[in-house]
Subunit: 202 residues, 4 copies
DNA sequence: AATGAATGAGGGTTCATTCAT
DNA sequence: GATGAATGAACCCTCATTCAT
């Protein structure tokens, strides 16, 4: 009921504690996966008793939810950073390099994969990641529409398809990096950029 | 004390039993994930006692490994199916449609994600998927080289990069489909094909 | 280090606080039982912090003890209400209807059962309810003796047995109502009254 | 699903194991109550590992359910034992003495109270005891109807009320014995018998 | 070859109680 | 007087694995 959720606009102390847990959980999940990391281990990593974690999070799943949310915010701010640029497409394409580095961080990817795996069998998490994906995807669609300028406008479905393919490129590369961490980044970047340009301008 | 592994060139009976287990495990893993599916459930699905499974597999991890291996073979055969086609690039691009359907099968993706998650923390599985990824990737690279025809030849790294991007497109879309199963397939396919063409012919 | 118990003849404020806790605890115990109601829930119901409850009660058991005590007083006052009536037996028998309603209140019974269950394993509570039962039972015996009037006097044991049977009728019906809340009250009342009359006048 | 329940018409070994658990649980619940007795303690008492108990019972509640059922069977056989007697009422009244001893066994009562307490907050157990009470009550009603002979027949509700009052007498005495184990049995028995006769013949 | 009874460590979670503020 | 953050042992339950048959 009012276990978690009560920690809302509270003092920074509580907020700090929460983040302490999240940081610890993040690290533990990275190393052992969602199921592999026990609450006991997380508690130890957070320098906190097991029971006390439950003051800040209703259960283990709530911790994952918070971490997913964190990740969404990160992606969102990345997308937003190109907004309002004068030559939008060029900005997006240039940004691709930065995103590429981001995406090759195996730590982050491992966590994302962990979450996706969980989603396959936990409907609650599935719903969560579906929802959390909508905002960035919509934003990406808007950016694409915005940048069309002279070119003919696109239907909603066309916009969606383009956003999906761009997203797929990055998420796909993320997976590739997980499979084999030494991707030839330098050779890949221009290919990526060409693909993005193609999808945007086509 | 007869560990598993001794079942090598044995009668087809044993082999059939093994496959019985694998089929059951596959189905169970699909539904509940590696950690979610218990040995008891797998045994029941395989019409076999729990204990008897241990005659054919040393432990649960060995089953997982076998399933991963299976998955690799599936991907390989997919790529091989375009080999030797007269107009190779066109064949690959046409094949994209089929692959797209394949890739949007959330069941298969769930398993792939499961494997990747497992790899993040189980070095044995990590090694396995790294190795298992090399063959298809190399094959893809060869196909790309083979199809260049008139165009200038590419360095190994260039080939690798192209193969990675094509792979990323498909694996990325696979992830996208997992996040949101109702992708606009019709609008996505031509975008994908253009991207592939671009990467191949560039 | 001021344990509870020191709160004796103190200001009405402290007393009010104590009762606040008891009222809350009563409500919570009714709904969830002694073990089901957590201190946290009781504290919330009492509009008080968890820790502060420990200023007024040494521990949870002390709260339970206080509630048991309360219950005893309730039963006592019920019996006293017929005392001194001119035609005592008739008064008792008439009262039976009221008592019946009282007894069919499943909320009260739930608490009584809770107390009895606790008594089976907590010697302190056992002692408490044994003592607390003596007064009403003795009172009931006196009433019976008092009402014999013309009839021959009864030995202590005879009186005790009669009181026990009357008590058993009511407590038994209480249990019956708990097992099945829709007792045929109308048909039961005259039977009860006849039984009581029989036991009293025999 | 098919955790428990599978142990049905199986070999006596499984049946014996089940009873081993029930006996242990019975003893533990008696001593510490349903919530007080941990599965670990029950397991130790049953000379069995914790996990193995779950081969025979789906969960702790299922153990209680089985014990409740056991008790019902006991009561039923008690009621049945007078069936078909030539002078039915006399037989029932004579049986009262035996039942009285039964009812004064505080061990059994403690368990019954435990179950009732649990029922107050666990709807599943509530349903269970409601159901389990119906059969004996119905049987008792039938016996009463059967024994009326010359006397005018009774409506269903009248029968029910009479059965309830008889049941209340015994269950009430059970509670009395729990509150104070040294009831004056000798003096109580004739009172009980008179009450039963009254209720039956009225 | 085949069974499934048996183990016990470890999982997530709850809760009475304490104590610094 | 009053708070609620903090503890940690104990709860029920699950599961990979072993072994007598």
């Amino acid at each position: 009921m009012n276990k978690a959720g009560k920690v809302e606009g509270e003092g920074s102390k509580a907020q700090a504690r929460r983040e302490q847990v999240l940081a610890a959980a993040h690290a533990c999940f990275l190393q052992s996966g969602f199921h592999g990391a026990s609450m006991a281990v997380i508690a130890k990593a957070a320098n906190m008793s097991v029971g006390h974690i439950y003051h800040y999070f209703e259960n283990k799943e709530a911790i994952i939810a918070a971490i997913v949310e964190e990740n969404v915010q990160h992606v969102l701010s990345n997308i937003r950073s190109v907004r309002g640029a004068p030559r939008l497409y060029e900005a997006m394409i240039e940004k691709a390099g930065e995103r590429l580095d981001d995406v090759m961080d195996t730590g982050k990817t491992a966590l994302m994969v962990e979450v996706l795996a969980e989603a396959s069998r936990n409907p609650h998490v599935a719903e969560l990641i579906k929802l959390s994906d909508q905002t960035p995807l919509k934003l990406l669609g808007e950016l694409i529409a915005e940048g069309r300028q002279a070119r003919p406008a696109l239907s909603q479905e066309e916009l969606r398809a383009r956003a999906e393919v761009v997203a797929a490129l990055f998420e796909g590369l993320q997976i590739r990096a997980l499979r084999n961490p030494d991707l030839p980044r330098a050779a890949i970047l221009p290919l990526m950029q060409d693909c993005i340009r193609l999808v945007l301008e086509r």
